[in-house]
């Protein structure tokens, strides 16, 4: 890749880690390394992990760190060029044709005008590589696994050259490639060809200490005792064989629920009532709800 003026002034991994911390994102050194490399080498970063471990958050934090735009493309089944890249504004085109007919302009001129940039509706991918961007944005391609293989194949092309060809206009190329973050929940395997073009990082559930610092960073007002107990309890939960283990997002959610109930530490009754913030399947609630929960609570309380 050609040398361009650095978008970031993050020269070391520690810098990145510190900057992310400043945005209240607690990153491992390994994650910070991956982000650092993605910035330096301008390679897309493919993030995988259980839901709720902060994959999407990385992109948001990056945009804030770099003080640039975040362009988000939420993938879904059936996403195609007209919703992801560009679409012509047909209504305006039709109106314009009528106007021109009244004015009597010849066909050649007409064609050029009708398919001009002013009739183009830019969708996220085109926005991300638009040469008009003053600063290259962060492009978040969220939950890529939801899209179809066809779209993935299209992305391949985009991610290797950062250029899009519109037949009527020509090739649009980014002055500077955007920072690309791709996330996947693995409901479908991402194709090897795409993986090869990306840096890969698997975000795991945080350790007890890390989760505690995340909670403190995210919810500054939380009582320390409650935070500690909650983290310990959630960690216990993750060791149980659950269909869907709670992520960090659920932990934060649960704390807000407990705070809303004015709890200062974990007590069995309220815990049982708010378990729905952590566990999203009835089977899991039943599994945990019995004797196990009491033991887990005792253990969690013992920590503080």
């Amino acid at each position: 890749m050609e040398q361009e003026q650095p978008l970031s002034n993050y020269e070391t991994i520690e810098d990145v880690q510190r900057a992310m911390f400043a945005q209240s994102y607690i990153a491992n050194r390994s994650l910070a390394t991956a982000v650092f490399l993605a910035l330096k080498r301008r390679k897309p970063l493919l993030l995988e992990g259980e839901p709720g471990v902060g994959k999407t958050e990385v992109a948001k934090v990056l945009a804030a760190m770099l003080d640039t735009k975040l362009i988000r493309l939420q993938c879904y089944e059936g996403i195609d060029i007209s919703t992801a890249v560009y679409e012509w504004n047909y209504t305006r085109q039709m109106l314009h044709i009528r106007l021109m007919e009244a004015g009597g302009i010849n066909r050649q001129e007409e064609l050029k005008e009708i398919f001009g940039p002013e009739f183009l509706m830019k969708r996220p991918l085109l926005q991300a590589i638009d040469a008009a961007n003053a600063k290259s944005p962060v492009l978040l391609i969220d939950e890529l696994d939801r899209s179809d293989e066809e779209f993935e194949a299209y992305l391949l092309e985009l991610l290797s050259d950062f250029q899009i060809t519109i037949p009527e206009i020509g090739t649009v190329k980014a002055k500077e490639p955007p920072v690309v973050i791709i996330t996947s929940n693995r409901t479908r395997e991402i194709h090897d060809a795409l993986r090869r073009r990306c840096l890969y990082y698997w975000i795991d559930f945080p350790t007890l200490e890390k989760e505690y610092s995340i909670v403190l960073a995210r919810m500054p007002g939380v009582p320390e005792k409650l935070a500690k107990q909650v983290c310990a309890f959630v960690r216990e939960l993750r060791s149980v064989d659950l269909y869907k283990a709670p992520g960090v997002a659920e932990t934060l959610d649960w704390i807000s629920s407990l705070l809303a109930l004015n709890q200062l530490e974990l007590v069995e009754g309220p815990v049982r009532d708010t378990l729905g913030a952590l566990l999203k399947y009835q089977d899991d609630v039943l599994k945990v709800g019995g004797n196990d929960m009491y033991k887990m609570l005792q253990k969690a309380r013992g920590v503080s």
């Binding site: 012509w88 044709i97 007919e101 064609l111 693995r186 479908r188 064989d241």
Partner: protein, 453 residues
């Protein structure tokens, strides 16, 4: 032969082993299956249907009488004189020696691993068995084919008496009727050549998996959605009037198929052929996922894509440690649901479970996991080779537990039933299968009754 009997008679008299198999019910059935598997491994043709027959037969004799037990097993399981010696050896070993060795397990010398103990046959026989086990697959197949070749004429004659196998009765049929015959014959009684023939037949069949509408749209001559991009282009020449319309239509794609195969013991033969079948219908497409289980679940999708199915299945059976250790369907499905379901069951997948339903695990686990599995796929089809037998009833605990969560319950014991399966796969459309409690009850009634006649 008579010597052998006398010897055995003597053995019975001098070793009144009291605890031998006063077991009944599930436990006995399990032991019988295990025994059947050992026989199968040694080249004696014993499939699940035979074992099931046998367990029925055993109701008529006093199984505490060792001699009766021995003779019943022998007459039910054995079809060839040549195999008597090895049968006798295996019988003694399995029902007597192995157990008495287990008892000695307390003393340090007997604390050898279970696997080693299993191999402790009389020296001559041990050598033979070891040779047999070590022989590579090709040799073994050749051996088996050879054995059968020599016995085939006699066998055909014998089968005239069997009323349920009327197709096999005509050894001098035309080529067409030979294929017909093959199509209806139970895989269990296939010879090596017939297996090859069946594979060839499968390869010639052409299937289409059921299609599902995707959310993508493609240009088409007729369709439900206007294709604006092309409309504007086409109609430029007419000025502002729109005279030509172009359309887009929803794109169709074959449904993903997930196949979960029981390869424990006697199921292995069926599963092997079914994997072949699946390999054929998928035509190497991307959307077939395959898993096998004995007590643990292994994904074999990649092997299935890269190589010959035979190789893949052999590889898997090598890596699965507990071949005759019984089946834990519930645990296997639990693992599948937790680790794979979210990754492979998207987009309206059709799940095929292939098993005889003899579950060694807990019924409650199986129930929960079947429920979850059914709710995370578009269609859940259970294939049970035993269902091909007219007097089979799905009454084992495992099968009974699973039945309420099955959308289709099909036999898979011969080529004809596979063809039916192919047709079913082809016909699967967008409509949701009936899963209300009433519909379930009705379906279960149907499955239990038709086979009860």
């Amino acid at each position: 032969m008579s010597e052998m009997l006398q010897e055995n008679g003597h053995y019975f008299a001098t070793h009144p082993l009291s605890e031998i198999e006063l077991e009944r019910g599930e436990r006995l059935l399990y032991r019988l299956t295990e025994f059947g598997h050992i026989l199968w491994e040694s080249g004696i043709d014993v499939g699940p249907r035979k074992i099931l027959d046998l367990s029925e037969t055993l109701n008529y004799i006093d199984i505490t009488n060792k001699e009766d037990f021995y003779h019943t097993l022998k007459s039910s399981l054995l079809a060839h004189h040549e195999q008597e010696t090895i049968f006798d050896q295996l019988f003694l070993y399995f029902w007597y020696m192995r157990d008495s060795q287990d008892k000695k397990a307390d003393n340090p010398k007997g604390a050898a691993k279970r696997d080693e103990r299993q191999m402790r046959l009389p020296p001559s026989e041990r050598k033979r068995l070891a040779e047999h086990m070590n022989a590579n697959e090709q040799q073994r197949k050749d051996l088996r084919a050879e054995m059968r070749q020599s016995e085939r004429p006699r066998r055909a004659n014998e089968q005239i008496d069997k009323e349920d196998d009327e197709d096999d009765a005509n050894p001098q049929g035309t080529a067409y009727s030979a294929i017909e015959m093959l199509r209806r014959k139970d895989f269990e009684s296939f010879t090596w050549e017939e297996v090859q023939e069946a594979k060839k037949l499968m390869a010639e069949m052409r299937w289409h998996l059921g299609m599902r509408p995707t959310h993508r749209k493609a240009p088409s001559r007729k369709g439900s959605y206007p294709d604006m991009r092309r409309i504007v282009r086409r109609n430029l020449k007419y000025g502002a009037e729109i005279l030509e319309l172009t359309w887009r239509e929803t794109k169709m794609k074959p449904r993903p198929v997930v196949i979960i195969c029981d390869i424990s013991g006697s199921m292995s033969l069926y599963s092997r052929l079914l994997l072949h079948f699946i390999h054929t219908i998928s035509n190497g497409l991307m959307n077939v996922e395959a898993f096998v289980f004995g007590t643990r679940l292994t994904r074999i999708t990649r092997q299935l894509k890269k190589r010959d199915v035979d190789d893949a299945v052999r590889d898997v059976s090598k890596s699965v440690q507990d071949w005759s250790g019984g089946t834990r369907i519930g645990d296997a499905l639990h693992y599948f649901n937790h680790h794979w379901a979210r990754r492979v069951l998207g987009r309206g997948a059709v799940v095929l479970v292939i098993s005889d339903g003899w579950d060694r695990g807990e019924a409650s686990v199986l129930q929960v996991e079947m429920d979850r599995l059914q709710h995370s796929c578009h269609r859940l089809i259970w294939l049970n080779p035993l269902l091909g037998s007219p007097d089979y009833r799905p009454l084992t605990i495992g099968m009974k537990t699973a039945l309420p969560y099955i959308d289709n319950f099909l036999p898979a014991h011969n080529l004809d039933s596979l063809i039916d399966l192919g047709k079913l796969l082809q016909s699967i459309d967008d409509s949701r299968p009936m899963r209300s409690a009433a519909a379930q009850r009705k379906a279960i009634d149907g499955w239990t009754k038709t086979s009860a006649i």
